[in-house]
Symmetry: D3
Subunit: 176 residues, 6 copies
């Protein structure tokens, strides 16, 4: 096809500066990057607070504000399937063709390797801070988190009142 | 429509005196109450031992024996969906129209609030005892539990041999 | 259990006077009738225009206005399953226990018979007119249909603007 | 692996002498044959009257009575998936590894070809008679059909009262 | 939010010049357009031959070659759900927020109207020719079709050998 | 039917010498044994590393090498269903008819008992060692495990590089 594409799959709950750095690194290696939005069906839980639509908007606006050329990436929501053996075929059916998979998650790596794909792992920046788990913890505990995400992400989260949502999901049930 | 309806959603594993008191309180505030039977597909697990049919029967007979007028309530089984963002639409499609949601569960509250519903929380009676978790624990450990549920519930549980079922589900696997 | 129950399963699109007559006949034979609302997940199609919630409301209000004692029936939404062999178990799990199945549909009859249930067929009243297909046809073609349904059904359909909905679903796509 | 395997996928509604001849032809070409039982979830419809369990029993007993060595075949129920692009991965996950696909169905051929499999089509024997559609038609219209299937199939169909089931599924609904 | 968005939902089997013209018209009315890729799970059938990934690539490259600014659109795959009443919530959860729905399909129009959305219908260009049904017919019957689609679409279809695929899906089964 | 059949259901992750001994014991009590391959859809997780196809191959080859007559058993993949109340009907639809269930798992026992089946528990051999959990632990920690499984199982696991797969699934995610 001439065009070399790589895929990066994450849950992006939320999209943070580590994700942004990773995508920029990938764009130094391939012509186009496919950003797979994993667990697309999940939202409104303590570990997956944002909808696929909210996450897609965060990523689109972050890449725009950081000058990534919009013709060079695709954002693809990927709902979970209940069967790991068919997951690669599921991703392939939803995505433009790709040659390389950039992944650190052991399951993702294994599944693509068994399907014959080239899988690479790129070095991560500031792993302890640039982490969805850490960012959600800070939101709940009212610590500083906005410095860990692109400005467009912070803006989107405020627009959907995301911090309140996340805190409410952490509350104890008062009616059980 | 002229008729004001409120909805109360629970798993009712099993239906207890706290639930009954709550429904009576709701009926002082609205014309008709919709009793949403959550996780309708679940049964035969330690935390969800009873089928939707068994729970529906418990509730129907309890309301009958406590004199709640049968024309003033609806019992609606609501199977789980694997996507929180569509859950409110799912409930709405299964139910007569309603104006108010009575809920204490943070996720339920959040989802209905984001969908624009009025959500209220009513005070609970004897929360430590009137609790599904507590009642199931007592059943397993052979303590007194029948005083925490309407008589019709105890009768239904005995008819389906529910205590034996629950204890058996707690046994250790002898063949793994 | 002492209480004898029978089940009647239909799609009730919409509930009509033939259904009402059938339920009254069943109540002469059993203590309590279970009204299974089939294809509960379906709505907004030419043959299944109404949601489960709308149909449940139609039936509840029709039985109320025709004086059927509310303690003697249960209305149970039953979503389709994609596997006929498990359908009876699915119905059983959603419903209070029953002894007799009143059904004319050959598949329903067959499945319950193979599962060991007693299946009976009752005579129908005015089959050509008291028919969901006929009533929906009249709605679309602007003929008289309200005389074929209980008044509460006509009222509910008007409240949800059901005739407009049905006609719109019959329109040709103008953008394909 | 040393062992060469081929797969043959059908619905086997019911398994007939054409299927048996095909499997014997395949066993002249490979060491082991995988018999994929398609639409495994389907049963009790006019075109799919038999359950997966019934079909599996028919095939097992037919191969036994015709002397096919039982160590040389696998019978694998394959439920449908609602997405053709993942179907090959679904089959692969349920089956021992195979090299060749014997198929005449255009969709099956296409999907395996796109996934890089070798697909072959074998000549069929008496296509007009050895046909599931024709056999089911004869059952319904009370014509001779037993000469078109292995004896074990006829026996199994009689044991489950399959002809009565099929005819009943063809009846007109008397309660709509 | 300041940004006004509209959504256009289609199956794009394949994306054609009528779709392109429609999207350009929408972009004269809103700031950003969301292109909902309906029936995303479908592929490899006579009426839905292309995968979501292939369709997404067609649209992305067509908009690029026709100069539509890439920052002004989102392409969102939308798998079908088996329940029309929850479909709008499903679309909303997958998409950035939008205010207007551009749709001609009666079901789409009805569902969004009942959910309170503003729905508009834009005039179509050359409806008889710019039609997925017509284009697929021409592919099968070896007539001229490339003049009805953007060049990038024709190129993508050739890359995946789409015409051969479609013709093969139309063949008669030779093994039934 | 004349033929007496028993069913044994397990996940067989992997199939071990305890399973083999159990199947031989069952074959002393019935004419034919049905080996139900539970959680058939699961694979590539720390507790369910092998696909249904791999497990089926392990069992088939193990029974062959230990001289179990191939005409006396059926191996049936059984995907999980999300509803315990329909699970027995699901198993029954996938399997040839059976009279006795050999099970030690409390849920399996309970569900078949409630459905009216005869359930028996056979004594287990060397439960601490002949255990899927223990064998998987040994694989991960590089201890001796091959002596706990039939030779055909060890061979199959090596062919699919199963130990590497399992260890990789236990690794920590390096990109979160």
């Amino acid at each position: 096809m001439g065009i070399k594409r790589g895929i990066v799959i994450g849950r992006y709950q939320p999209f943070h500066l580590g994700h942004l750095a990773l995508i920029k690194m990938v764009l130094e290696r391939v012509d186009e990057v496919i950003i797979g939005l994993g667990s697309a069906q999940a939202s409104h839980t303590p570990s997956d607070p944002f909808t696929a639509g909210e996450r897609l908007l965060m990523i689109h606006k972050s890449l725009e504000e950081s000058g990534v050329p919009p013709g060079r990436y695709y954002i693809i929501p990927i709902p979970d399937v209940n069967n790991h053996s068919i997951w690669v075929a599921h991703v392939v059916s939803l995505s433009p063709p790709f040659e390389v998979v950039y992944a650190g998650n052991p399951l993702t790596r294994r599944l693509f390797q068994e399907a014959g794909y080239k899988v690479e792992t790129l070095p991560l920046v500031k792993r302890e801070e640039y982490s969805g788990t850490e960012i959600r913890r800070r939101m709940v505990e009212d610590e500083e988190w906005e410095n860990l995400v692109p400005r467009a992400v912070a803006r989107t989260i405020h627009e959907v009142d995301g911090v309140t949502r996340l805190r409410q999901l952490h509350q104890t049930d008062v009616t059980r």
